[in-house]
């Protein structure tokens, strides 16, 4: 049912694309990250929660239809429904059914429940399209409760030393998770680029902890001993150095590896990710019962080879995904901040 073209993942009978990277007539979008939700489509279809993100990221004037999870619509005889992917708020796996065959395009996903996005739901299918950002057995996440505790302890430790805690996390997804984890740990300040997205969430009824928006170009004295969340683009811009007596932590799956932690030369690195870890990926693939798996981005060669070895037919398909900050590296600058 799916073909992989130079414009994106194409559903031939339905005549539409999923997460295309070149302008097309009709695009179904898995989630709001810039590498999956590109500009230039005549029509967009996505989850309700993703609508304001697309409008804020691409343009308020795009033609976009939002639907809920499990709601079914039809296009040229193909039944389309969205299912929670657990990656970020509004992220969806796209289920397609045509003549008794089912394909699922999962976009990016995570199995762990983060307390913000609707939990991942496994969908049975014949053909499954998966990512593999953290497709190596060295990536194994701690339970979310433990991750949150670690963040809280670190903040407390800083407060004991009268230090301000600065977190670096992707503005769409990670930042809100950090806020959630630290809602009772101290006053929360977020960089205005994160504030912009927060407002988009609030518009659609997502409840976020109380926070204040901060512009680091202005006076920063009031941040003292509080918690500040900034996007990764600020890490290299030295603006955060303006915050007096601070310690800064990076939250990203890459922080699992010592070499990456040390390279970033942050004061702390927490392996907190919005992607599935190694076992999560395998578990997710197995649960679909799919006969054919396509690996789109990340550790594609390794993951596909391993799946074949454990008896699941898998191949690597070239896509242009994987430019989202956490997917590429903990470094990559945010496209728009």
């Amino acid at each position: 049912m799916l073909t992989f073209t130079d414009k994106g993942i194409y559903c031939e009978p339905g005549q539409f694309y999923i997460d295309p990277w070149k302008p097309v007539d009709y695009a179904i979008i898995t989630h709001g990250h810039a590498d999956h939700a590109k500009w230039g489509m005549k029509n967009y279809l996505c989850h309700h929660f993703t609508v304001p993100i697309l409008q804020s990221r691409i343009s308020p004037d795009i033609s976009v239809q939002g639907i809920g999870y499990h709601e079914t619509i039809s296009r040229n005889g193909v039944k389309i429904s969205l299912h929670p992917a657990g990656h970020i708020i509004g992220s969806a796996q796209i289920r397609l059914e045509y003549k008794g065959k089912v394909s699922v395009v999962s976009g990016d996903y995570k199995i762990q429940e983060d307390g913000l996005s609707t939990p991942f739901e496994s969908v049975k299918c014949h053909e499954f399209v998966t990512e593999s950002t953290f497709g190596l057995p060295i990536y194994r996440w701690q339970p979310v409760a433990t991750q949150n505790e670690q963040l809280q302890q670190w903040v407390q430790h800083n407060q004991e030393q009268q230090k301000t805690s600065v977190f670096v996390g992707y503005s769409l997804g990670k930042a809100q998770r950090i806020m959630q984890a630290l809602k009772d740990a101290g006053p929360l300040f977020v960089h205005y680029s994160i504030g912009k997205l927060n407002r988009a969430f609030e518009q659609i009824g997502v409840e976020l902890p109380k926070y204040e928006i901060v512009d680091l170009r202005e006076d920063v004295k009031h941040l003292d001993q509080g918690i500040v969340i900034v996007p990764p683009s600020l890490l290299e811009s030295k603006v955060i150095k303006k915050i007096p007596y601070m310690a800064h932590a990076i939250c990203s799956g890459w922080m699992q590896v010592r070499g990456a932690r040390r390279w970033r030369s942050a004061d702390a690195g927490f392996a907190i990710s919005d992607h599935a870890d190694w076992e999560g990926l395998i578990e997710a693939v197995k649960a679909t019962g799919a006969e054919q798996v396509h690996v789109t981005h990340g550790q594609t060669a390794v993951f596909a080879k391993y799946l074949n070895e454990i008896g699941i037919a898998a191949d690597v398909v070239p896509t242009e995904y994987g430019q989202e900050e956490e997917e590429e590296s903990p470094e990559k600058k945010e496209a728009q901040s």
């Binding site: 190596l136 057995p137 060295i138 990536y139 194994r140 290299e236 890459w254 699992q256 590896v257 010592r258 070499g259 990456a260 932690r261 040390r262 390279w263 030369s265 942050a266 004061d267 702390a268 690195g269 550790q299 060669a301 390794v302 080879k305 391993y306 070895e309 590296s329 470094e331 990559k332």
Partner: protein, 529 residues
């Protein structure tokens, strides 16, 4: 092992010296006596012999995790450290047992006489009781070196602060030999056991690269100028008739240079001298590549002694007749060193020449000419300066000649280890020979983090292999490679070897058509080799 693990974690997760010092002081306060001794032993390189091979560790980890070897190797190449890879791929522990560092070390020491199956049972059991972070430390304790996140300078600095002592005194106390079982930690640091230790070297005084204009240094007459040599910096100790030669890597190398040891034995007096071991033939200093032939050999043959004759250029006098001279001004130390040389028979030990020049004006020309002597440039030392421990800005400057450079193309890339294991950071470069490319150098440093990411992205897109750590890349990216010396060698396909190659800059303005030809490169080889 909690306290020790916390220390390692703290040291490992910051680049800030103050944070590292805080962490060490915390450990000095909270750590148990035996753990502190182990800590000091491990961090000064006094680790016990490895009780089992890393191959076995790898096998057992693959067995526990049921990971195929290719996948384990992929993981290893993403992590860059075997102990860490194992710690990460293993399933979470099913039990917890709290044991101290010294308890673990006691068991690890016992391993060496045990059978393989006993060793295996111990290791698997340990893995199953330790969380990933501590498991990593445990694996490190079992194998490789244990220099994590802290230089010996920082360690000494932390101890000095904690005990309110001079850094040099601390360094003196803890360098050299001591036995964990025979000392008390506090007393050891305070120097209680160091008097009897004849061989103890002092920390070396190191120089910063010159960062100002010569006239800004003040009067020329306040400064001593010498050539900077590219050999093995050493300390030459004679106390109570015994001779010791230390290299800067805190290694005792007396046996590797028997002719120097003999020469020292012939000399009168008790002294500690700072100097440089160099290969010298007929008054000409030879390039480092010659001296290198003498290194890391178990036996120094007669042929080796005559093929690569060595001398010591004496720089400074640190101790004389049992008295520490380091606080005295350089002028006084040098005068005494000259006297000492004059009083003793002429041997392969000679004074490092003091360069005479009337003002600052002549020095740039002298520096330019340094390479013809196989010298790296000049050293400028303030005549009133004490002999500092380690690096201290202002009194000693090194003023190196500008490096030699070539343009070469990137042909292989390999993931880095440790700090940069997530990216391609180790590069092999090639120059042209007729229509083919021949490898000339490997280089690891010189690019910014951003450039490394950019190169990594290029490698990911343009590599022919998909698995394993090394990628062959399309020859497209051109870099200017700087180096300090060049010699004929068969280690590289090009037939030459570069000394201290590093990436000077990425030449985005150049293509593979612009890289250097090997015949041009060979013209840079000095005549004496």
């Amino acid at each position: 092992m909690r306290a020790f693990a916390d220390l390692i974690f703290a040291l490992d997760s910051t680049n800030k010296t103050t944070a590292k010092l805080d962490a060490i002081q915390q450990f000095l306060r909270d750590g148990e006596e035996k753990d502190k001794l182990w800590f000091l032993a491990l961090f000064t390189g006094k680790r016990p012999k490895r009780p089992l091979t890393t191959t076995l560790l790898k096998l057992w980890a693959m067995e526990v995790t049921q990971i195929p070897e290719w996948l384990f190797l992929e993981s290893y190449s993403a992590v860059g450290d075997l102990g860490e890879t194992i710690a990460l791929v293993l399933p979470p522990p099913t039990q917890t047992v709290e044991r101290t560092l010294s308890e673990w070390m006691t068991d690890i020491l016992l391993l060496k006489d045990q059978s393989e199956s006993e060793k295996k049972a111990f290791v698997l059991q340990a893995w199953d009781t330790l969380p990933a972070q501590e498991r990593f430390i445990f694996n490190k304790l079992l194998g490789g070196s244990f220099r994590i996140g802290v230089s010996s300078k920082t360690l000494i600095n932390a101890l000095a602060r904690f005990y309110e002592m001079e850094e040099s005194a601390v360094a003196h106390s803890i360098m050299g030999h001591w036995n964990r079982e025979e000392v008390v930690f506090d007393l050891l640091v305070k120097g209680h056991y160091s008097d009897t230790e004849l061989s103890k070297p002092y920390p070396f005084c190191l120089a910063y690269a010159l960062e100002k204009e010569l006239p800004d240094l003040g009067y020329r007459s306040d400064w001593q100028a010498e050539y900077k040599w590219d050999g093995i910096r050493g300390q030459f100790i004679k106390r109570d008739g015994e001779v010791f030669i230390w290299s800067r890597g805190e290694e005792l190398v007396t046996e590797q240079f028997p002719e120097i040891a003999e020469a020292l034995a012939e000399w009168n007096g008790n002294f500690v001298i700072d100097g440089e071991i160099l290969a010298v033939r007929e008054e000409q200093v030879l390039p480092f590549s010659e001296l290198q032939k003498r290194l890391n050999r178990k036996v120094i043959s007669k042929k080796m002694l005559s093929d690569v004759p060595v001398s010591v250029f004496l720089y400074d006098l640190l101790e004389y007749d049992g008295e520490d001279w380091r606080a005295r001004p350089l002028s006084e130390r040098r005068a005494q060193l000259e006297k000492l040389v004059a009083q003793n028979p002429e041997t392969s030990l000679r004074l490092s020449e003091v360069i005479a020049s009337r003002g600052w004006e002549d020095l740039p020309t002298i520096r330019e000419d340094a390479r013809s002597r196989n010298s790296e440039g000049l050293m400028l030392k303030h005549l009133a300066s004490p002999y500092h421990s380690g690096r201290k800005k202002g009194d000693w400057w090194k003023w190196k000649v500008d490096p030699l450079t070539i343009d070469a193309v990137l042909i292989y890339a390999q993931k880095g280890s440790g700090r940069r294991s997530a990216y391609y950071t180790d590069y092999t470069f090639a120059v042209r020979r007729d229509d083919e490319l021949v490898t000339i150098a490997k280089a690891y440093s010189g690019l910014t983090d951003k450039e490394i990411q950019e190169v990594s992205r290029f490698v990911n897109r343009n590599a022919t292999e998909k698995f394993g750590p090394v990628r062959t890349v399309k020859p497209e990216l051109v870099f200017e490679i700087a180096f300090e010396g060049i010699a004929l060698s068969n280690r590289h396909k090009s037939g030459v070897a570069l000394r201290f190659p590093r990436i000077l800059r990425w030449r985005k303005d150049k293509t593979v058509a612009d890289i250097d030809d090997i015949e041009e490169v060979k013209k840079l080889i000095p005549a004496s080799t």
